[in-house]
């Protein structure tokens, strides 16, 4: 059971926004010493990242803060997970990829947030073609495929990924994200994706919904 009441979520969030790795680690260690369970640490992390994600949506915070916050949380979770005797969730089987271009920041943010939330996921990499993503998805027998894009042509190519996957009999759920989907809120439907994840914590919620509450 997570006792959220006395968690220093705000202090932790501030440390993340100031890119203060030392302060964030101190807060983590204090909570670990007091509570000793992984769920509490995970709860604090997910809460702080969610608030940061909302701050970005509201144009109050920068993409850099979202990214660095995610990276710091991922590092801490990786350190404390074994200490607490906990491990990453193996299901659903998820992978993330950047279609066509080499701008991998969005992918890294979502990767970090999901890892910080206890999800194990495969990183397919960036600069991948439609065919490469389809092949990797089929081979890995994924339940959920996360596709990040920066450029408009790449975002539109998601449609080809979905078509090809369906032709090959895959029922993998495709969740998209990235600048073109932010600037055109209906684009995810046009490319036949299953959902549009505006930030890391939203992707986490989508995954929970797609898997009916998580596994």
């Amino acid at each position: 059971m997570v006792e959220a009441i006395n968690l220093p979520i705000e202090d932790f969030q501030t440390a993340l926004l100031q890119i203060d790795r030392i302060k964030a680690a101190e807060i983590f260690e204090n909570i670990y010493k007091k509570k000793g369970n992984f769920e509490t640490l995970e709860h604090m992390t997910v809460e702080a990242l969610e608030r940061i994600g909302v701050g970005w949506e509201d144009d109050q915070l920068s993409l850099s803060q979202v990214y660095m916050g995610g990276v710091i949380c991922e590092e801490l979770i990786e350190k404390y997970m074994p200490k607490c005797g906990s491990s990453y969730k193996k299901k659903p089987k998820i992978a993330i990829a950047v279609l066509q271009d080499h701008h991998a920041l969005g992918k890294r943010i979502v990767y970090s947030v999901l890892r910080a939330g206890g999800y194990d996921l495969i990183d397919f990499g960036q600069g991948l073609s439609v065919e490469e993503i389809v092949e990797k998805t089929i081979e890995a027998e994924l339940d959920i495929l996360l596709i990040s894009t920066l450029m408009l042509p790449s975002a539109l190519k998601v449609k080809n990924v979905v078509e090809s996957l369906r032709k090959k009999g895959s029922s993998v759920k495709v969740v998209v994200g990235g600048a073109p989907f932010r600037l055109d809120s209906s684009m995810w439907q046009k490319v036949n994706a299953d959902a549009d994840g505006k930030n890391g914590t939203e992707v986490k919620k989508i995954i929970e919904k797609l898997t009916e509450g998580g596994q």
């Binding site: 890119i19 144009d59 915070l61 920068s62 993409l63 850099s64 803060q65 990214y67 660095m68 990276v71 066509q100 271009d101 080499h102 701008h103 991998a104 920041l105 890294r108 600069g127 450029m151 408009l152 042509p153 790449s154 539109l156 600048a179 073109p180 600037l183 055109d184 209906s186």
Partner: protein, 344 residues
């Protein structure tokens, strides 16, 4: 009034004959000439022909020598990937280790085919448009170029934790940027578009920008021997407009998310405001929607000059239809003629 007079009048916060229109048409030239984007960019004459054709067809008040951002990356030895329906993009980042920054040398513009092509385009355009139409050159800001040079994640480590390496990279990027901008001005460019998306609080928070990229922009723009317009490539500008004004920029392109009224108010007639049609959303527009958006923008921002109507991103996507572009031009002529009539 020709395009040059129209733009210059607007930049000085006076009302010209009509609202100046800057349609950032780049890859669209390939569509107009019915060739692939790769073929289009293979020859300076194609781009010159495309720019002139689009200037007339869409009543554009500028021509541009801008090819694609990744052309600068070619100068540093990086790769460029071409696509059939979008701008060429930089390949894998070429700075693999942060320590490699100390081994980097400033590229020689005269040894880079892509940049020489840009200069050739400017010279050829200049011969034809002379002083009648502004020729807009372009650079990527030294502060934003590392996203393509080393990848965003690694660059953020540099910004936040590796001050020495950050300063070293800025030093060489500044030299390159100044040389490239001045070469374009010398070839005949009227002004330089300074693409600096990382100055936007959408990407880097203001405090960090002020302690890092702000000084870079001040130093760089001071050494560019011609007018500079800053664009943040869709990122919000409002919270940093006052800061950008201190960099020496003469105009600021704002985001579709920015309130353009407020931008003009903050600019206080010291810099002109460019913007801010949503270029991505534009791919969904029909003629009716286009007319509505352009009319609304003119009503909000045109009064008193100091405004150039444009997209928010710096490039019209391939997927935007000819109809939409024609409708933008027609609406600007119909509703953007000064004095602007209040909407009834």
């Amino acid at each position: 009034m020709n395009s040059m007079a129209r733009v210059m009048t607007a930049l000085n916060y006076k009302e010209p004959d009509r609202v100046p229109l800057f349609l950032n048409l780049t890859i669209t030239g390939a569509k107009e000439l019915e060739m692939s984007i790769k073929d289009y960019y293979s020859n300076a004459d194609n781009v010159v022909k495309g720019q002139l054709l689009m200037k007339n067809k869409y009543s554009n008040d500028m021509v541009t020598s801008f090819l694609y951002s990744a052309a600068e990356i070619e100068a540093w030895g990086g790769e460029v990937a071409f696509y059939e329906d979008g701008p060429p993009n930089s390949g894998e980042p070429f700075i693999k280790k942060i320590e490699d920054i100390y081994k980097m040398e400033i590229p020689n513009i005269n040894n880079t085919a892509g940049l020489l092509k840009g200069l050739e385009i400017i010279k050829k355009l200049k011969k034809i448009v002379n002083e009648d139409t502004p020729i807009i050159g372009a650079v990527t800001a030294p502060y934003s170029l590392p996203v393509m040079q080393m990848g965003f994640g690694k660059y953020l480590e540099l910004i936040y934790f590796r001050k020495d390496e950050f300063n070293q990279l800025m030093k060489i990027n500044e030299e390159f940027c100044v040389a490239w901008a001045n070469a374009q001005l010398k070839a005949g460019a009227t002004a330089i578009s300074y693409a600096n998306p990382l100055a936007s609080p959408s990407i880097v928070e203001r405090d960090t920008y002020i302690s890092t990229g702000f000084e870079v922009a001040k130093r760089t723009i001071a050494r560019i021997r011609g007018p500079v317009a800053t664009n943040l490539a869709s990122g919000i500008a409002l919270p940093v407009i006052k800061d950008l004004m201190k960099t020496g920029t003469k105009a600021i392109a704002v985001s579709a998310k920015d309130d353009i009224d407020e931008a003009k108010r903050i600019a206080n007639k010291d810099v002109a405001i460019i913007g801010n049609l949503n270029a991505i959303d534009m791919t969904n527009w029909d003629r009716e929607r286009t007319r509505k958006e352009v009319k609304k923008l003119i009503q909000k921002a045109a009064k008193g000059g100091g405004f150039i109507l444009s997209d928010n991103h710096g490039e019209i996507p391939w997927q935007v239809s000819e109809d939409v572009l024609l409708e933008i031009a027609e609406t600007v002529k119909e509703y953007g003629t000064y004095p602007i009539k209040a909407e009834v």
